[in-house]
Symmetry: C2
């Protein structure tokens, strides 16, 4: 029996994780479940899985959570520090699935316990970078990537030496505008941008997929998870999203991981690692799928991956600034304040205004993030 905490239990990755845990209920003891503010849903899950503690990030939701947990014997907690405390209780496995920079501190707290972290929060690793990877090394924690691309790479690297890697290739669906020309892309609306062809995701990540900033952030994430160097990392557009990523070795062998567009597959891979567990996902039927296509990304029409690569190259706080500027720009786009192509343009402008010194601590990362948000908001006011 292993213990597990799910940070971000009411989101999509959290729900998929708990769906898998539910199928192997006897193998897991649930320590902490957290959410931002969905108190009633969180309480329902905490009762179902007999969690030790349930925590909401938004302290205003704590009374509702307390009510919903009344008589259960499950501890209720609220506020940003409560999430950190919940993560710091330690568990054999912590699923870090809080979206955005809000997940950074709880994820770091889990890392400091030295357990296994199934990382679904790419922004945390993008922003914290070496601060996080150094903490992983220092505390003997294990980072298992849950993003489908990084989990694919992790599986393809299983038992291999990074020194033998010639290429790591991230696949990208190319997003809903992959076949559009410049005029269409410039006129893209929020409704068009959130209609992702292959994955059912939230609005922010769907827009990131449309700009290909999602792939850019994943590129930075891969750079930290699999230190083969930037010149061995690349992106290929694969509209069907069946091949989730690939690793080519120096002998000419390429290993690829394929599967359905169902997050339960990479989550199950992390939960059961280094073994496998059953999922209810349908077998892959390539004969029915018929055709897989691949093409080089167009970094003129979709500059986000170029900008992200430059940030990875620059290192230090640059990825944190990019991530923060992008979050602000995407929110502005979704609110109808800026056009689609302005999202990445605004990121570049924030980056051009100067990058803070390389962060040495979680606090430095959070302050670089906050400063970049201020810069980005300021740009919007002047726009």
């Amino acid at each position: 029996m292993r213990s597990i905490s799910v940070l971000g239990a009411t989101g999509s990755v959290g729900a998929s994780t708990l769906d898998l845990i539910r199928r192997e209920r006897d193998k897991w003891r649930v320590v902490a479940l957290t959410a931002n503010c969905s108190a009633v849903e969180l309480a329902r899950l905490a009762r179902e899985f007999d969690a030790q503690v349930a925590g909401v990030g938004d302290e205003a939701c704590l009374p509702e959570l307390r009510d919903a947990l009344a008589g259960s014997g499950i501890e209720a907690a609220g506020g940003a520090q409560a999430l950190v405390d919940a993560a710091a209780r330690g568990a054999d496995m912590t699923v870090a699935a809080i979206v955005g920079c809000a997940g950074l501190a709880p994820t770091m707290a889990a890392i400091e316990q030295g357990g296994t972290i199934a990382l679904a929060n790419k922004e945390a690793l993008v922003s914290a970078g070496e601060v996080m990877t150094a903490a992983v090394a220092r505390h003997g924690a294990t980072l298992l990537p849950v993003d489908s691309e990084h989990n694919a790479i992790f599986q393809c690297l299983h038992g291999e030496d990074l020194a033998d890697v010639r290429w790591i290739t991230l696949t990208a669906s190319g997003g809903p505008f992959r076949d559009c020309g410049r005029a269409e892309i410039e006129a893209a609306t929020p409704a068009q941008a959130v209609a992702h062809p292959n994955w059912d995701m939230g609005a922010k990540i769907s827009v990131d997929s449309a700009t290909m900033m999602n792939k850019g952030l994943e590129f930075i994430e891969a750079y930290h998870l699999f230190p083969v160097g930037l010149d061995r990392l690349r992106i290929i557009v694969h509209p069907q999203s069946i091949v989730h990523s690939m690793v080519e070795y120096r002998d000419g062998s390429t290993l690829a991981q394929l599967g359905p567009s169902d997050m339960r597959v990479p989550i199950a891979s992390a939960l059961a690692w280094p073994r496998r567990m059953d999922t209810p996902c349908a077998p892959l039927d390539l004969a029915a799928i018929g055709t897989l296509t691949f093409r080089a990304p167009d970094e003129v029409l979709f500059p986000a991956t170029r900008v992200a690569r430059e940030c990875a190259q620059a290192g230090g706080a640059a990825p944190a600034v990019l991530n923060a500027a992008n979050e602000v720009a995407v929110a502005a786009f979704l609110a109808g304040k800026i056009g689609f192509t302005h999202i990445v343009a605004q990121c570049e402008e924030v980056l051009a205004r100067g990058i803070p010194p390389a962060p040495a601590s979680l606090e430095d990362v959070i302050s670089a993030d906050a400063e970049a948000r201020r810069q980005a908001e300021g740009l919007l006011l002047r726009a």
Copy 2:
């Protein structure tokens, strides 16, 4: 420094192996090189690689070999037993690349030394089946598959538990007639049959690829190498031959191995296993390749894989009979004696005449093979 013997050094797999050894000359000490009758070429290779012994299977070629090796200090040997003796000298790695049933006894001799066998001779494993796998277990030998499909599966299984496998899927190019109708297939000539679209191979294996008997034999080979059961083994047609095979796990993850149609890739994988070594093979450029397609095999037009599966199911000597009958039928087809569709039909007829008892020894396998050849030749005489 590791020692190596190459059985079948002058053939295509042998040449590819030695090409790789040549690039890492200081890492290998060559024990034995063998050929059937290419004495001059064999002597040249034996001198270049400073082999201890060079052996020709055809004893009539021994004088020529002796002449060619004069003054070199390299031992010359000839005859079927000489190949067995050469293999029995033992080496850390033996590349078993003698084509057809002639490779059976030398391969078994190498297995009995308990080293690592890079197996490129699928007929040996198809015919000997459990006799060979039992010898591998008994002598603590390691069998590394060099056939591109089986090597792909081996790589995709690296570090995994066979109990977690949902499907092993062998890919098949479908051969030169994959898009033809019945009339065209019935009228197929030897010249058309040997024109393989993706691989440059000998005539026999090219015809096997055209009938899909090659995939049928590989299916039986996979059944012995990866004992997951017949109901977890399947074949998919993939005309581009980029994906060399796949393994699907019970969590819904599929791992695939991709690469160029160059035997040096799987050979290098076996030579360096569990590490990797450089090859001169060009990196995989999926963006340039563009499209990969997949479809279910048509076992009405191409019954060979059905017949092979039935032989694997029947077990015992059935695969040996199939392999022998097929060799005779392919030779008859290449000689213009029977039509293309008669190849598999003749195999089925030989099988219908009765299968010898399950072989318990190498001698039993060889006698089942010989008896099946007699039956097949007899059928031809009456045709």
